[in-house]
């Protein structure tokens, strides 16, 4: 049995990217504020923050395509007591609304920095809880390929990796755009924020890449060890039928999060090479995004249930 569900692939990947972007952006903003003050920190991050909005709304809308009876959709939060799917839906709605409120406050500079930071922190925590709930949905005792700690770890890697690289791309694009328009306040400071952010994003990406490349073989070995008919069929779906896609996913991940990142680490500090940094940041993001979508496709493809 296979669950080839494009709406779920898009929803889970894109929503995780949105949560990751929100969390990483929060971290970047926190450190930039401490060093340069909140006005300087806002210049690049406010636009990046607003970009998350449409992404989340797209992800939420796509989920309706998954439903056989979308008119009943509000019923989906009726079983919070025992259904992780219910909890996932509820947390996704709360994250969307909370994120919108935070973005509005940040955009219009409503209330004080402390209040805004607190709201942002709460929304980020809800986002991370959402990713946790998303993973729990798939920990079904009847589906060996999903019922693994690797599902949780991989969902969080997707979250932080795509989030980091999306923020990196958004920062470079915003920096170049504002500089070309001549509206960038204090270019030196902004470049400092940009290059420091990019260098940290590279380091985070390399660590996550390392973890992912340890988790994948451990996961496959563990699945093989279980030896049940469903587990072995899942491995075959990943390595045999999906073998080419699986290889492509690993290569794209390695090139995007590894090689492009390392080059970006070198070019990030040189102001007259920002356009190259931009290409690298965007390529790294695009490669990893495609890799993650392929990975999620294989995740759903590998669904084999025990029993009948």
């Amino acid at each position: 049995m296979q669950a080839n569900e494009w709406s779920l692939i898009i929803f889970t990947t894109v929503m995780q990217m949105a949560v990751g972007s929100f969390v990483i952006l929060g971290g970047v903003h926190f450190f930039a504020t401490r060093r340069y003050g909140d006005q300087a920190a806002d210049a690049l991050s406010d636009r990046a923050l607003l970009a998350i909005g449409p992404v989340v709304i797209l992800a939420m809308l796509v989920t309706f395509l998954h439903l056989g009876n979308p008119l009943n959709a509000p019923q989906a939060i009726s079983n919070l007591g025992s259904s992780w799917l219910s909890r996932e839906v509820a947390l996704a709605v709360v994250f969307t609304i909370g994120g919108a409120i935070f973005a509005l406050m940040q955009w219009r500079k409503i209330s004080t920095l402390t209040v805004r930071s607190t709201v942002g922190l709460v929304v980020a925590a809800i986002g991370l809880l959402l990713v946790w709930a998303m993973a729990q949905v798939y920990l079904l005792p009847t589906v060996p390929a999903w019922n693994s700690p690797a599902t949780i770890v991989t969902f969080f890697i997707t979250t932080l990796l795509l989030g980091s690289l999306a923020v990196g791309s958004a920062f470079v694009i915003t920096y170049q755009y504002l500089r070309s328009k001549g509206t960038l306040p204090n270019t030196d400071t902004q470049f400092d924020i940009l290059s420091t952010t990019l260098r940290w994003i590279v380091l985070i990406s390399l660590v996550l890449l390392g973890i992912q490349f340890v988790v994948i073989p451990l996961y496959l070995a563990n699945l093989a060890e279980q030896g049940s008919e469903a587990a072995l069929a899942s491995i075959s779906l990943i390595l045999d039928e999906g073998g080419a896609l699986f290889a492509l996913r690993l290569i794209l991940l390695f090139v995007g999060a590894g090689i492009f990142s390392i080059f970006m680490y070198r070019t990030a500090t040189s102001e007259n090479r920002t356009h190259i940094t931009g290409y690298l940041a965007f390529s790294a993001f695009a490669f990893v995004l495609i890799s993650e979508i392929l990975g999620r496709f294989l995740f759903y493809e590998s669904m084999m249930r025990i029993g009948l």
Binding site: L67, G68, N72, A76, S78, V89, L140, R305, G307, L308
Partner: protein, 206 residues
């Protein structure tokens, strides 16, 4: 909750005629692809060479008629985000179609393939134990249709007292996941769950 309903299936007399499956389909007017009761065909065997050079086969085959087992611990009810999937006092697990969003999550979770998606109406459907027949004092359609008297229903405690407690044989899943209200009289060739000596040969039917 005592007095839960369950099915008893006697594999030693089942001929695999699938009258139960057809009666179920007819009674509930199920569309193509939706079969609340199904008959799994499990077969295996090989050729064995004797010391004198002759060959013998040890082929086996047996049938397992399976619908919803109206489990004590129904995973479909647990995971359903809407509470459309619910369990009545008498143990019957049913879908409240006016609440179902058709997300098919119960279909992923149930190891017996009991909840099935009806494309025409966009919601999940499943065996309802012919509760309307029960109210009229009749047997469920599948039980009434069986020409071999391989299929019975009743209060699970009584079924277990009379026929034992076996609820897992290949190709069924382990019973401890959902605690099915099912009693099986195994075929003399029955293999234990997880056995690799045979295989399900009609996967497209179940």
């Amino acid at each position: 909750m005592a007095n839960k309903l369950g099915f008893y299936f006697n594999a030693t007399v089942c001929t695999g005629c699938k009258a139960c499956q057809v009666a179920c389909k007819d009674k509930s007017d199920l569309p193509v692809g939706v079969n609340w009761r199904r008959v799994a065909e499990y077969t295996g065997g090989e050729w064995v060479t004797n010391p004198d050079g002759t060959c013998e086969q040890n082929v086996f085959a047996y049938y397992t008629s399976i619908a919803c087992n109206h489990c004590t611990n129904p995973i479909c009810v647990e995971v359903c985000p809407t509470q459309a999937m619910h369990q009545r006092e008498d143990g019957i697990v049913m879908v409240e179609e006016s609440k179902c969003i058709g997300c098919r999550y119960c279909e992923w979770a149930c190891p017996y393939g009991a909840p099935q998606f009806n494309e025409e109406v966009g919601v999940m459907t499943k065996c309802n134990f012919c509760h309307d027949y029960l109210d009229e004092g009749k047997s469920p359609a599948c039980v009434a249709a069986c020409p071999s008297r391989a299929l019975f229903f009743g209060e699970i405690d009584e079924l277990r007292a009379e026929h034992g407690e076996i609820a897992e044989i290949a190709p069924l899943p382990p019973a401890d996941i959902t605690e099915p209200n099912l009693v099986i009289q195994p075929h003399h060739n029955a293999k234990s769950i997880g056995s690799t000596s045979g295989k399900l040969i009609n996967p497209e039917e179940v």
